[in-house]
Homo-oligomer: 347 residues x 2
């Protein structure tokens, strides 16, 4: 943008001093006399001078900008992550550029290229659903670009990541159902290639084991596609069973949505006839009052932590030029309970 921008030269000319003096005066350099400083600052104020960040970035080979790649901005969870990132970035003097991969590996690759071209100081990445090869990431890491992964992480020991403690969250949710008197708890499983799917199943199993409830594989249903329809038909199958489950633990939103639809259409009531617990990341978070008990994912906190780690990496690297030690942050979930009446009902 050219337009009417005031530069350091303009101030220098008007004051009859050199651009370097103006530059120093503006940064409160100790060498500059108080009078000069005063004159410069006043004129800068008057002319509405704002430094040209583009020139600054070129000069310092540092853009003070973080690049972010998320699968989709429309997901409530990811938009809260963004707010967390911005919160930390802004107060540390960094700007943020957000790109969406739209769950596509191809887009993820071009996003990384675009961010690299923009010379961002580092990248915060949550992998697309399609990403199962990592050359594009490795190549960019090899160029020395600091990266921190969040939520859908690249599982390599050399980079930092921030993830939700899915195992504990799933365990807590399952224990809650057990505490409410449920004993036949079905599990709706997510896409098998995602790490979270495994974690959530494990938490579920741990809870059952600790409570001496046998794990019944017949009521662990696979929902690999992540669609509502899938969750619905899985639930319909569950409801048709002779000894139907008294609770459903849906490990992702579409599965939970589908489960609720199926239950409603069967004329049953939640949670009286069958309790439902869901993980909330896309849909439910957007509703001020999720319709069922849910495991809340700390998106804002995740954004904050990821940004903190990245900024630390960037600043360590620019100082010492040493490789930063990768860190992993595990964030706790929070159970939002809406079926606490169930306990009494069951007894």
């Amino acid at each position: 943008m050219k337009y009417n921008q005031v530069t350091i030269k303009d101030i220098a000319r008007e004051l009859g001093i050199s651009p370097s003096t103006v530059s120093r005066a503006l940064k409160d350099h100790p060498d500059i006399s108080p009078e000069t400083k005063k004159a410069v600052n006043e004129l800068a104020e008057k002319l509405n001078y704002t430094p040209n960040i583009v020139a600054l970035s070129l000069r310092q080979s540092k853009t003070n900008t973080l690049g972010v790649i998320i699968p989709e901005i429309v997901h409530f969870f990811f938009s809260t992550v963004i707010s967390g990132i911005e919160d930390v970035a802004y107060s540390a003097g960094y700007n943020v550029i957000i790109t969406q991969s739209n769950e596509s590996l191809l887009r993820e690759k071009t996003d990384i290229k675009a961010l690299f071209n923009s010379r961002v100081d580092g990248m915060l990445i949550s992998l697309s659903r399609e990403t199962s090869t990592f050359e594009h990431i490795d190549a960019t890491l090899a160029k020395g670009v600091p990266m921190v992964f969040f939520d859908r992480v690249y599982d390599t020991p050399t980079s930092s990541k921030v993830v939700v403690d899915d195992l504990s969250g799933a365990k807590e949710a399952t224990l809650h159902l057990i505490e409410q008197g449920c004993t036949r708890i079905a599990h709706l499983e997510g896409p098998p290639n995602l790490g979270i799917t495994k974690q959530r199943l494990e938490g579920y199993i741990e809870a059952l084991n600790e409570s001496n409830i046998p794990v019944n594989k017949d009521i662990i249903m696979s929902c690999p596609l992540g669609t509502i329809e899938e969750g619905k038909s899985a639930t319909e199958a569950l409801l048709k069973m002779d000894n139907r489950p008294d609770a459903i633990f849906a490990t992702n939103d579409p599965a939970a949505m589908g489960a609720m639809q199926a239950i409603k259409e069967a004329g049953l009531k939640i949670p009286q006839d069958i309790a439902v617990v869901g993980f909330s990341n896309w849909f439910f978070g957007a509703l001020l009052e999720p319709p069922l008990t849910s495991v809340d994912q700390p998106g804002f906190e995740m954004g904050q932590e990821a940004a903190k780690l990245l900024i630390r990496q960037i600043e360590v690297k620019s100082k010492d030029n040493s490789e930063p030690v990768p860190e992993t942050k595990l964030l706790k979930t929070r159970l939002i309970i809406r079926d606490s009446s169930l306990k009494k009902g069951k007894k």
Copy 2:
């Protein structure tokens, strides 16, 4: 970002030619011999050369970046607008920087400053809920920054804007209810300082007038705060009336959510006992299946149109240096019907 970046100089040195020749070869300049071009392009490919956008921006006084200010990214509507903006921007060779005002005037002001400092080529703005003074906008416009407003617009004849045709949308929704056999249609009104509130009421009244249904002020309820509770208590009042409404037109999401809750708690059914139509921008859009008939807001299209207008402005200005003619785009809503069974029921 410094790190291992390859520059034009590196290519020039390695090939024993000058940087300008390399630059020209890369842009397929007609003066350069085919052999040189080939050599340069091959080496560039091999070294993984990517142009430094920061240097380019400084050189051309053009960043090829659009700045966007939205009230909140978590709103489904605004996140679809962003996707629309990106769609058009990327294919025209522009990057996009998104900022959130969080519905705060102060944040809006600092966002504008930050975007100006980043020397974006133009700005796309949807005003915060707090914005009722416009000096910050005027000052930036005066500096020659192209601006296009969308959804929550600055109503001045000198700048371009893209808005939803709320009047027609509201009218269509109300006519739909009338067509379904409803005659006592309540209206839940939004915050009075927003233009959309007036538009939606007007559309509602037009529909009633055209259908020879008298406008009954007793069932036009004000919901100035935009909270769910408010919509709920307004609806509770409506349901208590002797001759209670057979339909509710909720002009915003929280009001619609509140209405639905109140109806459910009163043991009534939607749409059999009482039909509900809502405007969908925040919540419902996030659900793949909104629970009621709703007026869909074309967010993606709005983003596209706004970006198109802005880019045209930028490019006209940089060529002719003439002031662009402001344009206003009115976008049609779309009625998503889920209560079509009602008609028969009523007859």
